[in-house]
């Protein structure tokens, strides 16, 4: 057998995998430090999932409510995450988000304005004050384009439409990665002193999701396979409002901004049901009556917030319960009504993409009729365990930022905290990686045997005939995760899922692909299935071990939070082909911050 050698090798100080908000921000930071920096992405540059973020970027700038400050934002974030967040990440995030927003403006982003010309901020779930800087309802596009233009002007090298198959390691250090060009199918090696993962989430393991095809858990799996720790994999956010009809767009996101701008949830009886679902933790801060809730939009001091804007986990569970109780909408969702509450001009100005999306894809005019919405798999809270200040993983040479990193959001993320997470920790990971690279004198060495065996394995799907169809395996995986590891879980179903997922993973490993190497989506999917099935198993295993309900993890058989489990992260590791889950204590919050939660 001839050895597969890869002729194309790129030497870099810093390799960034993923070109969404976190990845581009990391590349900008590393490049600005003088590091030779390469940015690799599966899609064309500027198409990353970040473009789908709608509502805004959370930062306590206090432009609308001067009472706001980082401590309030920190407190909201921790409470939203049911106190499972890494306190230091939540602190850095709240402290630095305003500077990152101002920086985006300095790089050309045009946020909506207050009457006196400053950056306008809007209300969102779980945020005490109007805090989201935004551009209508297409903030993510503004963020990605701003960062894309900045990176282009800095001449960051971009390797587009290139998929990373594995991280390369040498003596327990990450030394780069093996990838392939989607266009040609040819292999490429990146040799790097430091590598940043910024690959986003895992939603494509589910049938109903707001996520794009790229969200196949690549970074989670790359880190795990190389030997890094993952935490909090049981915590997956189901966004309360995805489209439910037509089937073709089921799961597509409907921004929380609809509720932030006055929209309310109603059941088939026309009742605003969220008043029935206010948990004890948020009762003191939530309106009791519709009158108070409506007043709150203009009077944050004299009235308490509407329960329609409770954190996402609460709202998603409430919608799920209403549908199960038979009070759903015709297509199996609930109603989201802004038409009867705001005038058409206001709706079109504030929510132009939503107007467009419903009009074009569902034939619904949201200025005259209610939307039908239901929960959709949206965001992975869990991910690579990182050092908060530098983004360093537990493995030397490897960093992570954005959705692929764990800890920042605890068991549930607040809306608007994702875009701020991307730029705060993208920058930090880029700086961390650049510093690590600067501390290394020589380029690390790559083991040709490692490259050969990985490349050979990737091509094996072409040698096999009569194997499984990757599209069919993907469909099975999505069915399994949707029905057994979804929004409400039970021990029995999770047990069943373990077995099914092992079988699906085995089927994925014997897929066969026909045709050629050049832009072959069947092959691409077969490769993506390896990471998708791996993260699916991590989710199911961690979910089985966490015998409580908290944030994005709801167990029907353990409906309450367990204070003891509130002190641990579930850590997933991969050793000798086996996945393990171990509870490990959370970092302890210092007293001065703990003080904020005593009122």
């Amino acid at each position: 057998m001839t050895t597969i050698t890869v002729d194309e090798v790129h030497d870099l100080d810093v390799l960034v995998i993923g070109a969404g908000g976190a990845g581009i921000r990391a590349a900008i930071a590393a490049k600005s430090e003088g590091a030779s920096t390469g940015l690799v992405c599966k899609s064309l540059f500027g198409k990353a999932h970040t473009v789908m973020a709608e509502g805004g970027i959370a930062a306590s700038m206090g432009n609308v409510y001067p009472e706001d400050n980082w401590r309030v934002h920190f407190r909201d974030t921790m409470r939203g995450g049911k106190m499972l967040n890494n306190w230091r990440m939540a602190q850095l995030h709240a402290q630095e988000a305003p500077d990152r927003v101002r920086e985006l403006e300095e790089w050309g982003a045009l946020f909506d304005r207050t009457p006196d010309g400053r950056i306008l901020q809007r209300d969102f779930g779980g945020h005490r004050y109007a805090r989201l800087a935004h551009v209508g309802d297409r903030t993510g596009l503004e963020l990605i384009r701003t960062l894309q233009n900045k990176a282009t002007s800095l001449d960051v090298r971009v390797f587009m439409e290139c998929t990373i198959l594995r991280l390369l390691t040498d003596a327990n250090r990450v030394v780069g990665a093996l990838g392939y060009w989607r266009e040609s199918g040819k292999f490429v090696v990146f040799r790097a002193k430091a590598t940043v993962l910024a690959t986003g989430g895992v939603g494509k393991a589910y049938k109903i999701t707001s996520n794009s095809w790229e969200y196949t858990g690549d970074g989670h799996s790359l880190a795990l396979w190389a030997g890094a720790d993952l935490i909090d994999m049981e915590f997956l956010q189901f966004h309360p409002t995805g489209m439910v009809w037509p089937p073709s767009v089921r799961g597509l996101l409907v921004t929380e901004g609809v509720r932030g701008d006055g929209g309310v949830l109603k059941n088939s009886d026309g009742k605003r049901f969220m008043f029935d679902y206010v948990p004890e933790m948020f009762r003191a801060e939530t309106a009791d009556t519709e009158e108070e809730a409506d007043r709150w939009y203009t009077d944050k001091v004299g009235a308490r917030r509407t329960p329609d804007l409770l954190p996402r986990d609460e709202v998603a569970r409430a919608i799920n319960s209403e549908i199960k109780a038979g009070r759903g909408s015709p297509h199996g969702g609930v109603f989201l009504d802004i038409a009867s509450r705001r005038d058409p001009e206001y709706i079109k100005r504030r929510l132009p993409s939503m107007y467009h999306q419903f009009k074009q894809l569902a034939g619904v005019d949201i200025t005259t009729e209610p939307m039908e919405v239901g929960p959709t798999c949206h965001y992975m809270m869990g991910g690579v365990r990182v050092d908060p200040d530098t983004g360093a993983s537990s493995l030397p040479g490897l960093f992570a930022a954005g959705e692929v990193a764990g800890g920042m959001h605890g068991s549930n993320r607040l809306g608007g905290n994702s875009l701020s997470d991307l730029v705060v920790f993208g920058r930090r990971a880029g700086l961390g990686a650049a510093a690590a690279a600067a501390a290394m004198s020589d380029m690390p060495s790559i083991d040709p045997a490692q490259v050969d065996s990985l490349a050979r394995e990737a091509l094996s799907v072409f040698d096999r005939s009569g194997g499984t169809n990757p599209y069919e395996v993907h469909r099975k995986l999505q069915e399994c995760m949707q029905s057994l590891v979804g929004i409400v879980r039970t021990g029995d179903e999770l047990e069943e899922a373990q077995g099914r997922l092992e079988e699906i993973q085995r089927e994925a490993s014997v897929a066969s692909v026909e045709g050629h190497l050049q832009y072959n989506p069947g092959w691409h999917l077969a490769m993506d299935l390896r990471s998708m099935t791996t993260v699916a198993r991590c989710i199911a295993m961690a979910a089985l071990v966490r015998k409580e309900s908290r944030g994005g993890h709801t167990r029907d058989d353990y409906p309450q939070p367990d204070p003891e489990l509130g002190k641990v992260n579930m850590v997933v590791r991969y050793n000798d082909g086996e996945l393990t889950v171990t509870p490990e204590p959370l970092p302890v919050m210092p007293d001065d911050l703990a003080e904020l939660f005593k009122s």
Binding site: G108, P247, G515, N520
Partner: protein, 269 residues
């Protein structure tokens, strides 16, 4: 809905042809749903770009029955399914395979755009801008880079030779967004005239017609740019100002910094 006949272009840079498939369709579906079903059941290796399937990323551009569109935003009930549905790749860009084209031209032209250069902050550390000034440039920020406008622009659609000297509508939108950005101080007007081929556009509005974001590319971006370029090139005071500046500077030395728009405007009047 019954089965639909799809005629999909299959091939590489070396050539190809339309192949016919019968594909099942369901209520409420878009063209991309059928392409995905075709991929999953009959043509595993059919190459197609897509990402968000929500009209937000601009990846799935194609020519559907000859009309340049996003496959994810074209509902089947807007097409006559009693006839075959034809899907072809964008014609202006070189074929990679099937429906996937090489759009690197756009990225190369983007690299040549002189960077955004903001003016100084206010004394309180903020930038103050009126919503109405922001609105104007925000229209251009809606661009999802689907490149359909580039695809239909006749200056480059069948004229490969023009690609080196013509930025195209997408890039003109980008220049317009910078030109009309309330904070930007860079002046790109001479570049637009001399290197980016702004004058080659003869405002037939083909680009505007296909824009899925409904950006008024011709009226709001290209025509105002043309006017500004004319102002910059032929205003006698600007001409005089440049001439003097050239005299003061030692020959051959680049200007210390690009002339700010504020300076140019005050020189003009």
């Amino acid at each position: 809905m019954a089965d639909v006949t799809m005629r999909v272009w299959r091939g590489t840079e070396d050539g190809g042809s339309f192949q016919e498939y019968q594909v099942h369709a369901e209520d409420g579906e878009v063209v991309l749903d059928l392409v995905h079903r075709l991929q999953a059941t009959q043509a595993n290796d059919l190459a197609v770009r897509w990402n968000c399937k929500a009209g937000k990323c601009g990846s799935c551009s194609a020519e559907i029955n000859g009309m340049p569109k996003l496959m994810c935003m074209t509902r089947m009930n807007t097409l006559d399914v009693s006839q075959p549905i034809t899907i072809a790749p964008m014609r202006t860009f070189p074929i990679i395979r099937d429906l996937v084209t090489d759009v690197s031209f756009n990225y190369e032209m983007a690299k040549q755009v002189p960077a955004f250069t903001p003016r100084a902050r206010e004394a309180d550390g903020t930038y103050r801008m009126d919503q109405k000034d922001v609105d104007r440039a925000q229209e251009f920020h809606k661009c999802i880079e689907c490149f359909l406008c580039q695809n239909v622009c006749h200056v480059i659609r069948d004229h490969e030779e023009n690609k080196g000297r013509y930025a195209g509508p997408r890039l003109f939108v980008r220049y317009a967004e910078l030109e009309m950005h309330p904070l930007d101080t860079n002046d790109r007007r001479q570049l637009l005239r001399k290197r980016m081929g702004l004058g080659m556009c003869n405002i037939t509005k083909c680009c505007t017609e296909v824009c899925p974001e409904e950006i008024h590319i011709t009226d709001n971006a290209i025509i105002p740019l043309k006017e500004r370029v004319v102002d910059a090139s032929y205003d006698p005071l600007v001409w005089l100002g440049r001439k003097i500046a050239r005299r003061i500077r030692p020959s051959g030395a680049p200007p210390a910094q690009a002339p700010g728009r504020a300076q140019t405007e005050s020189a003009a009047g």
